[in-house]
């Protein structure tokens, strides 16, 4: 069974030969090629080659075409700040004052200079491995994207205390962009997209606020996307809205390490696929024993009956997580993830 079949079997709530493992490695490909992160992300060929090298090296079950979240900010005309040792961040907020929202236009992903390289990366990966290894990507949800375009404080101000008409206008532009960006990625060849909505997590919003502000925005966006969507909270918890996530149209959800995977499996395991919930932050200092124990825990709590992919809780493994830990995750999943079969 190849990785693609393994993942598709798991996603159809059946047990494949072993539990699929996704290592969400966005930065490690640069290290493999001796490039700085800025150099690495400057060309589609670098990222595609990085992903293929990482696939060979760790023998996990996906190719991750995602560059960094600020790519979407660049598409709107914003800037990105690069670091030597961590993921790039968005630069100064593009929307400095509310009047800027009126002038905001939705970029066309097919024409966008900023999104050209990510789309090319997907095409390169699809050419190399389509149907053999799932190609997955990520995008920021329309509700969370404004926090990157205008800063979280300004977005919360507009959301909680601001003009509803201005807020809705901003969300309309965000929705249009997210739909076209997601569909452009599917056309290029991705098999599934992580829909990052950290503002929906219980750390940020209550269930009532999610229902009032976000749910319809997410559901209406996902409805228009022509491919499978996985809801992700960037490490935040979804237990407070876990029953609502399948209703957004998402086919999967990334579970936080602070959420109870076993309980979530019991609650919605039949309705939605679960990914997770290795602690990507703590992982940097795990021993081999601790790594094995955590992989075992996730598999014991989530894998039974399919509908589960072993992954980290965030959708991005920090640069400082070393080879030994990454190999140990895959090795343990192979060892203990055969669904109790004796073969």
């Amino acid at each position: 069974m190849n990785s693609y079949d393994r993942v598709m079997t798991a996603l159809s709530h059946k047990e494949p030969d072993r539990v699929p493992v996704f290592l969400f490695l966005t930065l490690h490909g640069a290290k493999e090629q001796g490039l700085t992160l800025k150099e690495y992300f400057s060309k589609a060929e670098n990222v595609a080659e990085g992903q293929l090298k990482l696939l060979d090296k760790y023998d996990h079950d996906c190719l991750y075409s995602f560059f960094y979240a600020s790519k979407e900010v660049e598409a709107f005309g914003g800037t990105t700040i690069f670091y030597e040792d961590g993921p790039p961040n968005a630069g100064s907020p593009l929307i400095q004052k509310l009047e800027d929202i009126d002038r905001l236009t939705c970029p066309d992903p097919q024409e966008s200079e900023a999104l050209k390289e990510p789309l090319k990366t997907i095409k390169l990966l699809a050419k190399a491995k389509k149907g053999e290894v799932p190609i997955v990507s990520a995008m920021i949800s329309p509700f969370s994207l404004p926090s990157m375009l205008m800063g979280l404080e300004q977005w919360l101000d507009l959301l909680l205390f601001g003009d509803r008409i201005v807020r809705d206008k901003l969300l309309d532009v965000m929705q249009s962009f997210c739909v076209s960006w997601a569909n452009a990625q599917f056309e290029a060849g991705v098999d599934a997209i992580g829909f990052f909505d950290p503002l929906a997590t219980s750390e940020v919003m209550t269930r009532e606020q999610f229902l009032s502000f976000d749910f319809n925005v997410a559901a209406n966006t996902i409805k228009k996307i022509k491919g499978p969507i996985v809801y992700a909270g960037a490490g935040g918890r979804f237990e407070h809205i876990i029953d609502l996530i399948p209703k957004t149209g998402a086919i999967g959800v990334v579970v936080s390490s602070n959420d109870n995977l076993k309980k979530i499996k019991q609650l919605v395991g039949d309705e939605i696929n679960l990914l997770g919930n290795l602690n990507n932050i703590e992982m940097a200092s795990w021993t081999a024993t601790k790594t094995e124990a955590e992989v075992r825990r996730c598999i014991e709590q989530g894998a039974n009956g399919g509908g589960f992919i072993l992954a980290d809780q965030h959708g991005e493994l920090p640069f400082c997580v070393g080879d030994g830990i990454l190999h140990k995750i895959v090795e343990t999943a192979w060892k203990v993830g055969n669904y109790g079969r004796k073969d």
Binding site: D85, G86, E153, L156, E203, Q209, G235
Partner: protein
């Protein structure tokens, strides 16, 4: 200690309005409390009690960032409106330097507002501050503590450099850290050489109080 019934009612109503992120209701509660109890009592008792309860709810996962943020805005607005010249009855007399090691400033700004509302002198250096600048500002301003905020793991790890600078000069200024990675890895604050961590504004205040007793 016996709590005045009105005072308790005002605190309780204020907490309810903070949980609802309702600044209009909060304004009415605070105005009535100021009229009934006096402005000083509002800032020394009514607000701290409501914020303390909010912090406890956050620690138990019963409050969200939106509610904490709304509270910080509401209290800041109340300070500007009701007591621009009032010297708050400081529960903690100290001076701290605060800065974010990356571009994420929301946590830092909330902590700053809450500490200022509690009478602490806060020197806010802003976001994307180097560890060297934080250490230098703390030394120059004779700060009692350095508060470090970071959302990205690689930024959190730079806290060690502050510790190294202080150690190289034989200085013992306590370092407190806060930010999501410190919540995901409960031992990270020790690994980066901090003396304490705060998961929210109230915990930061409590931990800071304890740190400065040492």
């Amino acid at each position: 200690m016996l709590i005045d019934k009105d005072e308790w009612t005002f605190s309780s109503n204020l907490l309810e309005s903070l949980m609802d992120c309702d600044r209009f209701k909060a304004r009415i509660v605070l105005d009535e409390a100021a009229k009934s109890l006096g402005t000083e009592k509002v800032f020394s008792d009514v607000i701290p009690r409501a914020l303390n309860s909010l912090g406890e709810r956050w620690a138990k996962g019963e409050a969200a960032l939106t509610q904490i943020y709304a509270a910080s805005r509401i209290i800041e607005e109340a300070m500007d409106r009701l007591s621009p010249n009032l010297q708050t009855t400081s529960q903690l007399k100290c001076k701290v330097v605060i800065g974010a090691l990356d571009y994420h400033g929301l946590g830092k700004n909330i902590i700053t507002k809450f500490l200022r509302a509690s009478g602490v002198e806060v020197i806010d250096l802003g976001t994307s501050i180097s560890p060297e600048r934080l250490a230098e500002a703390a030394i120059r301003n004779k700060a009692d503590a350095i508060l470090v905020s970071a959302l990205m793991l690689h930024a959190c790890l730079r806290t060690e450099r502050i510790k190294r600078i202080l150690d190289s000069q034989g200085l013992k200024i306590p370092i407190m850290v806060g930010g999501a990675p410190f919540n995901f890895d409960s031992t990270l604050w020790r690994k980066v050489g901090a003396d304490a961590k705060g998961r929210n504004a109230c915990e930061t205040f409590k931990e800071l109080t304890e740190l400065l007793k040492k």
